[in-house]
């Protein structure tokens, strides 16, 4: 290579206790290059980038920016050298304005006056140059997640970043926002910035990167040009073995289990119709924020319908409750596993039995033995790794926490399974495991209601698909007729509005 690398990591090693998070990692980055750092959760990607940015001090190894070595453990030095970082959990203050957020730390603390006017002009000109529209005076908490990420990026650019690091930038974005983001990244690379983005999503790595470095177990296991590799090869390199997502066989639909007829929930869901049959999966696809959360709450007994009819096992539901749903045999995988699915500070066994604690109580006391046994069955049966019944749930990785949640529902063989965004944020291995379990349950006769914004997931799991747009549901189409283009149209609200809706079930 004739061009000098803008960034060179040499032999970076970092140990946390007994685990080796980074093992002698060396990476170069060329000017104007988009590099993807691909790896499963826990492969050491975020640790590596935290070292580069000075959040952590490495045990060994050096970071050089444009040939100059950075002092370890000094974010300020990294910022000055032109390294900008866009964190996975945004480092923004919701109550402050966009301009306040961008300006923090950019001036000497002891100046008697902030140069707000100059800063505003600079921010607007950068925003203009990269097509990142923002209102400098908007309160950050009032912005959408996509806009907040824009502010994060602008923050880095404002500090004259030459190298931009994005940690799982699409984890919180909708598909549409993600596409916009990658278009922006392209513009930045063309204007000479170098970018590293961390990801475990094969699609986006293939679509956006020039070069891919694969990390596994803290080591660089491979380096490929995006043009010369394939999703299948990357998946295998990342996981270390062949992973194939399970394939759905034809459904044998049975009785109608769960049915909504012209149902309203306030003004958030209006006139929706769906039918879940035994042994069949109904997929609800849609860009998040279109009423999925309300739908999830409705079917799990957290919200009441205000109009129309909801029928469960051919009986009308008038007053639903969470406990009523669970006792009726409805298993639920909530959308946000950290806030609604599990309580991080409590033990695994406690989380395993919490939603059916009455079944594990005797004379008003918790039957801990039965509860631990139940937790052990889940851990064994659903391959939950990284904890015993007594360890804190927070210590589990996202995938293992999701397996725990699935397990506590499926262990009891529910008649209906509601899975909302079941693989959001999970890595390839965990996705395959979750999909397999859902297909197993369906084969055993459970009716599955899958709510997801992942096209691939819905196409591979669902037998029938409906789109959710602004609180309305499209008529269902059979999965055989669905392709990405058609679902894209449906998600945009383009479906026949004629009489089909009336007998949509």
């Amino acid at each position: 290579m004739t061009t000098h690398p803008v960034l060179r990591l040499t032999g970076i090693t970092k140990r946390f206790g007994t685990t080796l998070a980074n093992d002698a990692i060396s990476i170069d980055l060329a000017p104007g290059e988009v590099l993807a750092l691909l790896g499963e959760n826990g492969a050491g990607k975020t640790t590596l980038m935290s070292i580069l940015f000075g959040h952590y001090t490495p045990d060994a190894g050096t970071v050089e920016v444009a040939g100059v070595q950075l002092p370890p453990g000094k974010p300020r030095a990294a910022i000055r050298a032109g390294v900008g970082m866009v964190h996975q959990h945004f480092s923004l203050a919701a109550n402050l304005t966009v301009l306040d957020n961008v300006m923090t730390g950019t001036e000497s603390l002891w100046r008697l006056k902030s140069s707000t006017g100059t800063a505003r002009l600079k921010l607007l000109s950068i925003a203009e140059r990269f097509g990142l529209k923002v209102n400098p005076d908007a309160r950050v908490g009032d912005l959408s997640v996509g806009e907040q990420q824009r502010v994060e990026i602008l923050k880095a650019l404002y500090n004259d970043a030459k190298i931009l690091i994005l940690d799982e930038p699409t984890a919180v974005l909708t598909n549409l926002e993600a596409e916009t983001l990658f278009a922006t990244l392209r513009v930045m690379a063309q204007s000479g910035l170098s970018l590293i983005f961390i990801s475990h999503k094969l699609n986006e790595v293939m679509a956006a990167a020039d070069r891919v470095v694969v990390l596994r177990g803290g080591k660089v296991v491979a380096e490929r040009l995006a043009a010369e590799t394939s999703k299948a090869e990357l998946a295998e390199l990342m996981v270390g073995r062949r992973v194939a997502r399970p394939v759905r066989e034809a459904a044998v639909p049975g009785d109608v289990l769960f049915q909504a007829i012209n149902l309203d929930v306030g003004h958030r869901l209006s006139g929706i119709n769906f039918t879940v049959r035994s042994g069949e999966t109904l997929g609800i696809i849609g860009v998040s924020g279109n009423g999925q959360t309300d739908l999830g709450h409705l079917v799990s007994g957290l919200a009441q319908h205000t109009g129309g009819e909801l029928r469960l096992f051919d009986q009308p539901v008038t007053q639903s409750s969470v406990r009523g749903m669970i006792e009726a045999g409805v298993g639920r995988v909530p959308e946000d596993r950290n806030s609604e699915g599990a309580i991080g500070e409590m033990a695994i066994w406690e989380n395993a039995v919490l939603e059916r604690i009455w079944e594990f109580s005797r004379n008003g006391l918790v039957d801990r033995r039965a509860a631990r046994q139940f937790a052990n069955e889940i851990i064994g049966g659903f391959d939950v790794r990284g904890g015993t019944p007594d360890s804190r749930t927070r210590l589990l990785s996202g995938g293992n926490m999701q397996k725990l949640i699935l397990g506590r529902n499926l262990q009891k063989r529910p008649r209906i399974l509601i899975a909302a965004q079941p693989t959001r944020g999970l890595d390839e291995g965990a996705i395959a495991a979750v999909h397999t379990r859902i297909l197993d349950a369906r084969r055993a006769g459970t009716g599955v209601l899958l709510i997801s914004e992942d096209l691939d997931e819905v196409i591979s799991l669902a037998d029938r698909i409906q789109a959710i747009v602004k609180g309305r549901l499209s008529p269902p189409i059979p999965a055989e007729q669905a392709d990405a283009r058609m679902l894209g149209l449906m998600m945009a609200g383009d479906w026949p509005q004629d009489g089909k809706l009336a007998h949509a079930s």
Partner: protein, 313 residues
Amino acid sequence: MELLEIFTSAGIWGAVLRIATPLIFGTLGALICERAGVLNLGIEGIMTFGAMIGWLTVFNGGDLWVGLLAAAAFGALFGLLHAGMTVTLGLSQHVTGLGITLFASSLSYYIFRLAVPLASSPPTIEPFQPLVIPYLSTLPFLGDALFNQTAPTYLAILLAAILAYVLFRTPLGLAVRMTGENPHGAEAQGVNPIAVRIGAVMVGSALMAVGGAFLTLSAFNSFFPTMVQGRGWVCIALVVFASWRPGRALLGALLFALFDAYQLRLQAALGKAVPYQLFLMVPYVLSIIALIVMARRARVPQALMQPYRRGER
């Protein structure tokens, strides 16, 4: 009618400013701490200690201003203690703050007893005298109502303006606000949240102690235990009432002082008909109502009471 005529006397407005002064200092102090993300329930004790040490300095021959400075210095020291426990060690801010209140109060009584022999009437000092401002102080009505105060009162009002400027117009203020909202974000942009928090708690605690010292060096002329009388707790509530803004903190303190001055005069007017304890409640009841109205719209600093530990989320 008599009840409303109270407001037309210049005396009540002068009293309002006088009563408000320690509250202004205390509220601004608590506000600085909380803007950086640290709740400082040590305020009640720090005010007591400020009242004691300020008085003792003057009693032993120090200048009145030296007395205020001594209070500020010891306040900062208690702030350092609070910050050491809550910021550096990340302990519970509630428990630490209450501990400091108990500790600082008891320590003040103890030092006072050691330094001053027991007497039937407490010894006195010569307190601050009203500052005569040419022309203004001699204006009819307004002169008595607004321009007949001691220097620390004017200082308190000036301080509210300075603090508002620093918080919203300077890089330092932005760093403090960012630290109170998201210390991780502050760190990612090269601001050291630990240093900012320690500094804010020390400065804030110094102001609390000055508020206490005002009681012994201006409002009264002697020190006696329990003289702070819950003013610290009122300040904590006023910060919420003020939605963490210095200008509104000033307003809130004045409003509370108005209630208080009014109830004192109500006692004089109606004290024979109703037990006076009823009037003592008036400012607190009105404050609770004001708090309910105002605080619902308040924007709490997002990282208030959350300890910051590097490298953790």
